[in-house]
């Protein structure tokens, strides 16, 4: 990334009622998702001794069938308060659902940088 930083992206199929990690930044944070029928639980987890702060920026509309044309989206701003510079970033999660087959497809991305001086 220009100016330094880290981008991580992953995608995963998750079975109905399973809780699976859809994004892992080792030593920093984890994002888990658990689709249950027409509902979705999302769990954010800090893995750093200095807690990562998660702030939900926006949340889409969760429908029974979020299709590729209309995926469900969530976005967070994240901050790890370190000295001398914090790490700032943005995490996004996108989901489409295949309720009939009990599967949800997640795409997650994290973009992290050191805060400017």
């Amino acid at each position: 990334m220009t100016g330094g930083g880290l981008a991580i992206s992953c995608h995963k199929l998750v079975e109905d009622a399973a809780r699976a990690t859809v994004l892992l930044v080792p030593g920093l944070m984890r994002l888990d998702a658990r689709p249950v029928q027409d509902t979705l639980q999302v769990m954010t987890r800090s893995l750093h001794p200095r807690l990562v702060r998660w702030s939900l920026l926006n949340e889409g509309e969760l429908r029974e069938y979020n299709s590729a044309d209309d995926p469900f989206r969530m976005t967070w701003a994240v901050e790890l308060p370190l000295e001398p510079r914090s790490i700032l970033g943005r995490v996004s999660l996108t989901m489409t659902a295949d309720l009939e087959h009990g599967l949800a497809h997640f795409v997650a991305q994290a973009v992290l940088r050191e805060a400017s001086a």
Binding site: D16, R19, A20, V36, Q37
Partner: protein
């Protein structure tokens, strides 16, 4: 396929998952148990890292492979106001005297009682005096219809636009030993069944069709399947049909409203 089930203190779950989740890309199946404990289960070989984790008990068994089987074993238990219990066949039965609805967790979109709208509907239902006909509109797996039948309403109807939901309702009603007349119909096209009490877990657009088509004999409606922002519209819709709001429940942005003549 091997199923590994771990019993943990509820407070230890997240720390254990910090270790396990990177090792289990397919994920885990987690549920709360009594006394502040929890179960975390997964499929496949137990990773060696497990030995160092604060696990109270560990069980391993060979089980059939497949998503349906994994979903079935998740189980579900919901207690509604201490007076009604919704559970899966794999969960332990309720104490004697508490009516319960036993529903097989299935893959698909049909209500298991897990959704806030279903639970809130059941909670409001428990506040009504059972008796006369009942119709569960948007019945899904039939949880509300079965509960109504068990609580004393008769006859009980279930209506859903999805054929699979109607099949699920019939199956679940039979396994709960109650009679529910489940029919497939689009309530945007046909009026709701004439019944003294209706529960409608449906989008606002369907409520908009149902409210003006209510039979005069319908005295109670539990309207759900809607978000808080739609509550005022629901009250206005059924108000125009002669019903007024009597009680409301709200959870996680969803709302359920009891309206009566």
């Amino acid at each position: 396929m091997k199923r590994v089930a771990l019993r943990l203190l509820g407070d230890a779950v997240e720390d254990v998952l910090d270790v396990l989740m990177p090792l289990l890309p397919q994920g885990v199946y987690q549920r709360e148990l009594a006394d502040g404990r929890a179960e975390v289960a997964f499929y496949g070989e137990a990773p060696p890292e497990l030995d160092a984790l604060p696990v109270l008990a560990r069980e391993e068994e060979e089980v059939p492979d497949g998503r349906e089987e994994r979903r079935r074993r998740v189980g579900q238990v919901w207690e509604i106001a201490g007076r009604l219990r919704v559970r899966a066949p794999t969960d332990p039965p309720a104490v004697p005297g508490v009516p319960e609805v036993v529903v097989e967790p299935t893959i698909g979109g049909f209500g298991s009682g897990a959704h806030p709208t279903t639970r809130m509907t059941l909670e409001l239902l428990l506040g009504l005096e059972p008796g006369g006909g009942f119709a569960d509109l948007g019945c899904g797996g039939g949880v509300v219809a079965i509960a109504a039948a068990k609580l004393g309403w008769e006859p009980v109807f279930g209506v859903d636009v999805e054929g699979r939901a109607v099949e699920a309702t019939r199956h679940n009603a039979a396994s709960n030993d109650v009679e529910v007349h489940a029919v497939q119909a689009d309530l945007r096209e046909v009026p709701p069944p004439p019944a003294g009490t209706l529960a409608g877990n449906m989008p606002l657009s369907v409520h908009e069709r149902v409210a003006p088509a209510l039979d005069p004999m319908t005295r109670h409606v539990i309207a759900s399947g809607i978000v808080n922002d739609s509550a005022a519209a629901i009250v206005a819709l059924y108000g125009a049909a002669g019903l007024g709001e009597r009680a409301r429940r709200s959870e996680k942005g969803w709302v359920a409203i009891w309206l009566a003549r």
